[in-house]
């Protein structure tokens, strides 16, 4: 036996993520290379950076959409700010007018100006997913997007996905599977799950884990969140 790292038998897949591989032996590729984890329908980091996959993680999807939005915005006719400017945002199908300083994030605009407090501010720098909203159907970290850049885009917040009286099936599944405890991360997870299931209606457990990897839950509901998303997709849950 040897612990020497040059002692490298052959094996094609990410061995640490492949439970059975551990019993078979070892692998030749780098187990932490995300591209290696593509396998059964997963989305690689490379694909995701090409902007092709929601499943690749909302972490970057938010950043990506924010950058895309910045790139797609028409050339500014004049310099805006630092004082307030009047804009309108299309939120949950309604046009909402508001006056904001250009530095205001989409998250602050939603929470402080439009009183849509379902999206939560937790890290305020694109690390946790609690502020996720859909912009043109794609999940975005609202703390990483300026409200100005959301002009002309269709914004869907958690409030637009379902209500306690008329919940979305994902929300129902979250309650049935007890996929929430304190609930502070839950709106972000529901928004991301909705986007995930739009793009992949029948995901595998691994795809759900990948798709929700950009979200933090401190109460530790992850296995139940994954089970709820699979249940909402009409699949048998694999997680506890």
């Amino acid at each position: 036996m040897s612990d020497h790292r040059d002692d490298r038998p052959e094996e094609p897949r990410d061995p640490v993520d492949d439970v059975s591989a551990a019993d078979r032996g070892a692998s030749d590729d780098d187990p932490i290379d995300d591209d290696a984890a593509q396998g059964a329908g997963g989305v690689s980091r490379r694909d995701f950076l090409k902007g092709l996959g929601v499943g690749g993680g909302v972490v970057g999807a938010g950043l990506l959409a924010a950058r895309a939005a910045a790139a797609a915005a028409p050339p500014a006719p004049r310099r805006l700010g630092p004082g307030p400017v009047s804009i309108s945002l299309l939120v949950n199908g309604r046009s909402r007018s508001l006056s904001i300083e250009p530095r205001v994030t989409l998250l602050d605009a939603l929470r402080d100006r439009l009183e849509l407090t379902g999206a939560k501010e937790v890290c305020d720098r694109g690390s946790c997913g609690a502020c996720s909203v859909l912009v043109d159907g794609r999940p975005v970290y609202a703390c990483m997007m300026l409200a100005l850049d959301a002009r002309g885009r269709a914004i869907t917040t958690i409030e637009g996905i379902g209500t306690p009286g008329k919940p979305h099936p994902i929300q129902t599944a979250f309650v049935e599977k007890d996929a929430l405890q304190c609930g502070y991360c839950t709106p972000g997870f529901v928004v991301a799950a909705r986007a995930l299931l739009e793009s992949r209606p029948n995901p595998t457990l691994d795809e759900v884990r990948e798709g929700l990897a950009g979200h933090v839950c401190r109460c530790g509901t992850y296995t139940r969140v994954c089970a709820a998303v699979l249940a909402a997709a009409g699949r048998k849950g694999g997680a506890s």
Binding site: V19, A130, Q181, G183, S240
Partner: protein, 769 residues
């Protein structure tokens, strides 16, 4: 007045009859023979849809007319004195409504007495009577601003000019212990050791056939509840109303009343939902106090939510530990002596003790525990889910695996020989169920010792959970049945995500024979006027549910008396079940709602108080966890494949939320084991990872399969028989994972978190286990 009752106690079919003495009027005790219809089933959270739809209102979501936004200016230096503050530019900024500076030592003096973290603002009070205030860590409070928006408040903070006299600092634990280290407090950095002992360890070690010894280290960890500490404060209606992100509305209220010198009755604290606490949100804390100070000065409501950096610098942490542990055992594995000597730092607060597991989990006649706090110029510690236990468990269970190896015993057999002898514990059952779920019998064939020598190695490990529960009186609850059939249950407690709200409904529903979803629960408001302890230490349900049940029984008695004539029966012949009032023979029935309409007053209501725990009954919680890991010996990466976690909470109230507690504790323990570590640059004294990018928390990709196993134990110390569950599931997780990694790689893990770098370092050493 009291009476003696005979009840049956035990677990897993092993039952015995005992006598308990209870106060007169105590409801029939739910013991091992009691069959219940709602309690113990899987009941969905009452507030589940409100949370999943974003409608649940947290403190951070409260918006009041004219509300201002507060921000706190914090020290950029780990140790300094405020020589001068000039806030005039900030005061003049458009949109600024109030500025407070904290340069005087007396400003926060009152907080120091009330802060549960043992906040060392008291250090100023102990210090020389200088005309300026010492800042004891990078992040200490300097000034605060309220403005029309958080952005303007932030602008104003930048306009406050502060001249600091920079003082020598120490943030490194080892440096802080040395003679001549910069003193955090005038009387030094090293506190006297807390010592507890039983028996005689010298005699115990003399009896031992084998003695193992080692040193284990755990880092400072950060709570990172997702909702930060914060409050919305409004001086209104002749008093102060504060919405607070808190684990204890009453403690918060009392702190505020004391700080502002007003009657408790004039302070109302509201917390309908809170985005996690984990021990760091007791009392009012700085955020609520400063919000109220700003609101008073500005004459308008103020919202002050801390940001993530503040949250990680100033609101609490789990202290580090360095634990030197010696354990001796006879040849058959029977423990003869345990000696734990530990020190650690909770920054400017104490709380680094970690001897609970060594003292409580295993039976050993000779135990000596010496625990020592060391102060450093870092943010104050606060209780963190099972304070001291995950750290102490890591060292203890590691040492026991070493002992098992030396004696040639199976690690599980060693635990079975030594677990502490308490009545009605479920440990035998828990070891059996969880070891089967993990496939423990494969262990001899796994790991380096089992002959695995390839790149990937699999290991199994275990740890035992124990938590002494402190719940009991006082707690009050009220249950009301209205003439329209509505059922209400009220208690001024708080639901920190554990499912308190739902558990209150389950007990009420059980007694009144209605559906849990039909019960309207009021909590999270001191104005309810029904006391509850703060939610920490696994005390909430075992404190309040017995009062809820007694209140529900009282309301039921009144209700049946009122509706008995309509059924032509004596009240004693009636019962409530299945949404009906029924005679006991089932001959006459009436729907609950129809019966409620017969109430002569509009409401049948009863209030009850928690009575003391019945003497002689167990209030300790036990559990066992088994972990399976795969270690990549090329990269050092650890993957946890599966964790089987067997726990008990006395009687299960709601199976769904109870299992969630178990899974959640395991996840937090896994995160502790593999990822979490606060990093300070000791030269500058600054925290480098006060955010969620660099302070790593486990996510979906780290998730193992989790097998929660609930073993019911009937040993009621209260009329429900519930004990608690918040802390135990985090206690042994890191230990079980560390033992599994050690088993996999053949080297003893001695430091958390088990990062790839640490695994590779271990692999560079000779095989030892």
């Amino acid at each position: 007045m009291s009476e003696t009752r005979r009840i049956r106690i035990g677990e897993n079919g092993r039952l015995e009859e005992v006598e308990v003495v209870v106060p007169d009027g105590e409801p029939a005790i739910w013991d091992a023979d009691t069959r219940l219809s709602v309690v113990g089933t899987a009941v969905s959270r009452l507030d589940g849809l409100a949370k999943a739809s974003g409608r649940a209102r947290y403190t951070s979501d409260v918006r009041l007319p004219g509300m201002l936004h507060g921000r706190i200016l914090r020290s950029p230096h780990p140790h300094a004195r405020i020589a001068a503050i000039d806030a005039t530019a900030a005061e003049r900024l458009k949109g600024v409504r109030a500025v407070l500076t904290f340069e005087r030592p007396d400003v926060f003096a009152a907080i120091a007495e009330t802060d549960e973290a043992g906040r060392a603002i008291e250090g100023d009070a102990r210090g020389p009577a200088a005309g300026n205030r010492s800042l004891l860590y990078a992040g200490d409070e300097v000034a605060a601003v309220a403005a029309v928006s958080a952005d303007v408040a932030e602008d104003a903070l930048r306009l406050i000019k502060v001249r600091y006299d920079i003082l020598p600092h120490v943030t490194d634990l080892e440096s802080a212990r040395r003679a001549g280290a910069p003193p955090v407090f005038p009387d030094g950095n090293v506190r006297p050791a807390a010592v507890r002992k039983r028996g005689d360890i010298d005699a115990g070690f003399a009896q031992a056939t084998v003695v193992v010894e080692g040193t284990w280290r755990t880092p400072v960890a950060l709570h990172n509840a997702l909702e930060s500490h914060g409050a919305v404060a409004a001086w209104q209606d002749g008093g102060l109303t504060v919405w607070a992100a808190t684990q204890g509305v009453f403690g918060c209220r009392d702190d505020l009343a004391k700080f502002f010198g007003i009657e408790a009755a004039k302070v109302r604290v509201v917390c309908e939902h809170v985005g996690g606490g984990f021990g760091a949100k007791f009392g009012a804390g700085i955020a609520a106090v400063v919000a109220a100070m700003l609101a008073r000065k500005a004459g308008a409501p103020v919202r002050l939510m801390l940001d993530r950096a503040e949250e990680n610098l100033a609101t609490g942490n789990r202290p580090s530990t360095v634990q030197t542990l010696r354990v001796g055992a006879a040849a058959d594995g029977t423990l003869t002596a345990i000696h734990l000597k530990s020190y650690g730092t909770g920054g400017i607060a104490g709380g680094a003790g970690c001897g609970g597991p060594a003292w409580n989990i295993y039976a050993c006649p000779n135990v000596l525990i010496e625990e020592q706090d060391v102060h450093t110029n870092a943010g104050p510690a606060a209780p963190f889910r099972a304070p001291g236990y995950p750290q102490g468990s890591f060292a203890l269970e590691s040492a026991l695996d070493d002992l098992a190896g030396r004696l040639g015993l199976d690690p599980l057999a060693l635990r079975r020989r030594n677990y502490i002898d308490k009545p009605a514990k479920a440990l035998e059952t828990q070891y059996a169920l969880a070891s089967r779920a993990i496939g423990w019998d494969r262990r001899p064939q796994l790991g380096t010792a089992g002959g695995q020598d390839g790149r990937l190695r699999r290991g199994l490990g275990l740890g035992t959970a124990m938590w002494p529960v402190y719940g009991g009186p006082p707690a009050d609850a009220r249950v009301s049945i209205h003439s329209d059939g509505t059922v209400e249950c009220a208690c001024g407690t708080q639901d920190i995500g554990t499912g308190t709200r739902t558990a209150m409904a389950v007990i009420t529903a059980e007694v009144l024979g209605v559906a849990p979803a039909a019960v309207r629960v009021s909590l999270g408001d001191t104005a309810i006027g029904l006391y509850s302890p703060a939610s920490g230490g696994s005390v909430t349900l075992n404190s309040i549910l017995p009062a809820v049940r007694a209140a529900a029984e009282g309301a039921k008695t009144k209700f049946l008396a009122a509706v008995a004539p309509a059924l032509g029966a004596a009240p004693g012949d009636l019962d409530l079940a299945g949404g009906e009032v029924r005679t006991r023979d089932g001959a006459r029935r009436m729907p609950f709602v129809q019966a409620a309409a017969r109430l002569r007053t509009t409401v049948a209501t009863a209030q009850a108080s928690r009575v003391p725990n019945y003497p002689g009954r167990s209030t300790e919680l036990f559990g066992a966890q088994f972990a399976e890991v795969i270690v990549d010996t090329w990269t050092g990466r650890v993957r946890v494949v599966r964790i089987a976690a067997a726990h008990e909470c006395g009687r299960v109230v709601d199976r769904l939320t109870a299992e969630s507690q178990v899974c959640g504790g395991v996840v937090m323990g896994l995160s502790t084991a593999l990822l979490e570590e606060r990093v300070i640059d000791h030269d500058t004294g600054l925290v480098l990872n006060a955010n969620l990018e660099d302070y790593k928390l486990a996510g979906t990709l780290e998730m193992p399969e989790i097998v929660p196993i609930l073993t019911e134990v009937y040993d009621p110390a209260n009329n429900v028989g519930v004990k608690g569950l918040g802390e135990p599931p985090i206690v042994p997780t890191a230990a079980a994972i560390a033992n599994a990694v050690s088993h996999a790689i053949g080297r003893r893990v001695r430091e958390l978190p088990i990062t790839p770098a640490r695994v590779l370092d271990l692999l560079a050493r000779p095989v030892e286990v």
